[in-house]
């Protein structure tokens, strides 16, 4: 089976979408000749031409707004925001239009838009290059939000996102870009809205997405050595959220730890804690633990290891949950 990096898998998903759907377009800052600052769009302009794969001026609101107009013209825009911290100038267009246009037109005007955003920290990036923007999007009704954790699922999720009739915010964990997986690329498997158990376990459940999935697997490994059998759930899809899978994990383990990089307050951990309480209060043996970034701006590179959830912090929380 071939080995593929997440960047390679994303590139293939874009290529297959461009080849498979003549209405698909790929654009953004530096996605053309350069192939993107992370090379996710490498070679696409050469293969599909400057009409379908093109650079734009540095104008994020313009890019998002153009997605709306292009959707009305019957295209499937796949736009890139260069980094998490540079997706904010587009928030107004995303909140006021991308998310609301279908509703506003009573379902007449679909917005089959994908906005790809290299996101999250852990690569010793500069300020604005390590933000976790998911809360802004998850809270905005009308958007789907997905986050792959590995190469194969990145291909699957991006392919599904492009095929989706609704706008999808596609958050790419930069720290996983060069991670590799073995296997065939394909869309079979869990869809948007479905979580995935990536490690079985009965004592507690670690809930994560993106980069934090592999960190949770590491933590689960360490916990296993201590005799704690931790399940790991990869959410994959933040909107829609797989309530089923969360409920099952809560009922079966009773001890839940949510892990994400974003600042704690009204992060995904809050939502998951609240949902788990709603779904499975009677089964909970311990409060849902949150292991998250702190309520501070993302710190400079030299401090990021103190800020990001570490294997140690995850293990601590799991131990606490189990011992509660």
């Amino acid at each position: 089976m071939p080995e593929v990096t997440m960047v390679g898998a994303l590139n293939r998903a874009l290529r297959d979408a461009l080849a498979g759907d003549p209405r698909a377009l790929v654009f953004g800052e530096d996605v053309g000749r350069l192939g993107g600052v992370f090379r996710v769009t490498d070679g696409l302009q050469a293969e599909f031409g400057k009409e379908r794969v093109f650079d734009t001026p540095i104008a994020e609101a313009g890019i998002a707004g153009a997605c709306v107009g292009l959707s009305l013209a019957g295209f499937r825009p796949v736009a890139e925001m260069q980094f998490d911290g540079f997706s904010y100038p587009a928030l107004d267009q995303v909140i006021s239009h991308v998310a609301k246009y279908r509703m506003r037109t009573r379902g007449i005007a679909s917005m089959p838009i994908v906005i790809r955003i290299p996101s999250f920290g852990g690569i010793r990036g500069k300020e604005h290059h390590g933000d976790s923007p998911e809360t802004y999007y998850v809270h905005t009704a009308g958007l789907k939000v997905v986050v792959p954790s590995g190469a194969l699922d990145a291909y699957r999720l991006l392919s599904l996102a492009i095929a989706d009739p609704d706008p999808v915010i596609f958050l790419e964990p930069k720290a996983r870009y060069w991670s590799k997986e073995d296997g065939e690329l394909g869309v079979e498997g869990p869809g948007i809205g479905e979580a995935r158990v990536v490690r079985e376990g009965a004592d507690c459940a670690l809930i994560a997405y993106g980069t934090m999935v592999s960190r949770c697997l590491d933590a689960a490994g360490r916990l296993a050595d201590e005799g704690i059998d931790a399940r790991v759930l990869d959410l994959r899809s933040l909107v829609p959220l797989d309530l089923e899978a969360l409920g099952t994990a809560a009922r079966e383990t009773g001890r839940m730890v949510v892990v994400h990089e974003a600042a704690r307050t009204v992060g995904m951990g809050a939502e998951i804690a609240a949902r788990i309480m709603e779904e499975a209060f009677d089964y909970l043996q311990a409060p849902v633990m949150r292991v998250t970034g702190y309520d501070t701006p993302y710190p400079p590179a030299s401090l990021e290891q103190h800020w990001l959830p570490s294997v140690e912090r995850i293990c601590d929380a799991a131990r606490k949950a189990v011992a509660y």
């Binding site: 734009t56 006021s96 909107v239």
Partner: protein, 367 residues
């Protein structure tokens, strides 16, 4: 703090007094109805009359909407009185293949484009956002309230039309206030870079709610175009033929692959910003009085009558038709009820995910 720029102030003062005050302004008919330019804009007598008919109809409708709001049938309404020529002249210049991206004050343009005014007015009745006319069928995008945001949509659509090799253009309406927003700029620049077939149509009505033009900008708006590398033209927005002419030229230019044009139509909002606004708090009776004689309808009516294109019978038929049509519209507006609450959940996604289905049941019961 406010540095009133002499240029902008004198522009507002002089606008419409005489053409020579304003070397850049395109005007074909003076406020008193006399031709001051070549009024042969390629329209047949019937089409010339049609412009007048539409202006009379839309003004009558505008008045009725004000009344409907006062009677509680609309929640709020932004009148366009004074801007009929700007909207009718420009919308009339487009073809069926073109796509309009309005702001929130373009009921007249919508009517010209064949949008059902009753569906349009559901927005102001508070029964639905945006329309809820079919924007794809009518090629008239939903009402767009966040100032200037629709400009970028128009540019995106136009980029698409160009990719498809279609001889079609987008036209987007926005106000003088909208030109201060980043989205105006990003849209204009994107349009220029991509050579997008789009007409950026600014209705400069002198005010953005209570903020006068000179607080909005220190230079004439049409001059922005040169900075982007495409033409900008300033037109007497109360002269329907001049508006038609410059819009037609810009639309043709766009469809012929020559890219965007910025049109600044100098007009005036004779009414309040919306029915919720009290414009006497910020502007003077004198200013209103100065604009009254520059009324777009009176001017054009006199011109058509003098030119022998319209007679008394035609004018009466216009009034009669307006009366009749508006009565029908009123009856239909008043007759429309709120949609069922289930609609709140129906249109968020193509298919509601389970968690939203649960919320629907929570809100509406298991029905």
């Amino acid at each position: 703090m406010l540095s009133t720029t002499p240029a902008a102030a004198s522009l507002r003062r002089d606008m419409g007094h005489s053409r020579s005050d304003h070397p850049n302004l395109v005007r074909l008919i003076a406020p008193d109805g006399t031709a001051v330019g070549d009024t042969d804009v390629g329209l047949s007598p019937q089409e010339l009359r049609e412009l007048l008919r539409l202006m009379i109809l839309t003004r009558r409708l505008d008045d009725e909407c004000m009344a409907l709001q006062r009677q509680g049938e609309l929640t709020v309404y932004p009148p366009f009185r004074g801007q009929e020529a700007a909207q009718v002249g420009s919308a009339f210049a487009l073809g069926p293949q073109d796509f309009v991206f309005p702001s929130f004050r373009e009921l007249a343009a919508a009517l010209v484009r064949g949008v059902d005014p009753v569906e349009y007015l559901q927005y102001h009745r508070g029964t639905w956002h945006g329309g809820p006319y079919d924007p794809l069928a009518t090629r008239f995008a939903p009402i767009c309230v966040p100032v200037a945001t629709q400009i970028v949509h128009a540019v995106g659509w136009a980029m698409g039309a160009k990719l498809d090799g279609k001889a079609a253009c987008a036209l987007t309406y926005f106000g003088d206030g909208a030109t201060s927003e980043g989205d105006f700029h990003e849209g204009a620049n994107l349009a220029a870079v991509f050579g997008a077939p789009v007409v950026l149509f600014c209705q400069n009505n002198g005010w953005a709610i209570s903020v006068p033009l000179e607080v909005q900008t220190a230079g004439p708006i049409f001059r922005r175009a040169a900075g982007y590398g495409f033409p900008g033209v300033q037109v007497d927005g109360n002269d329907v033929l001049a508006v038609f002419k410059v819009t037609k030229a810009a639309a043709d230019r766009a469809r012929n692959g020559l890219g965007p044009t910025l049109i600044e139509a100098m007009t005036y909002r004779m009414g309040p910003h919306t029915t919720a606004d009290d414009s006497s708090r910020y502007r003077t009776e004198e200013e209103l009085a100065a604009w009254a004689p520059r009324d777009p309808i009176a001017r054009y009516r006199r011109y058509l009558v003098d030119a022998g294109v319209a007679d008394q019978a035609f004018l009466e038929s216009c009034d009669g038709e307006a009366e009749e049509r508006v009565a029908t519209i009123r009856a239909r507006v008043v007759g429309t009820a709120a949609p069922p609450p289930s609609e709140m959940f129906d249109h968020v996604f193509a298919a509601a995910p389970p968690s939203l289905e649960r919320q629907r049941r929570e809100a509406l019961g298991d029905a």
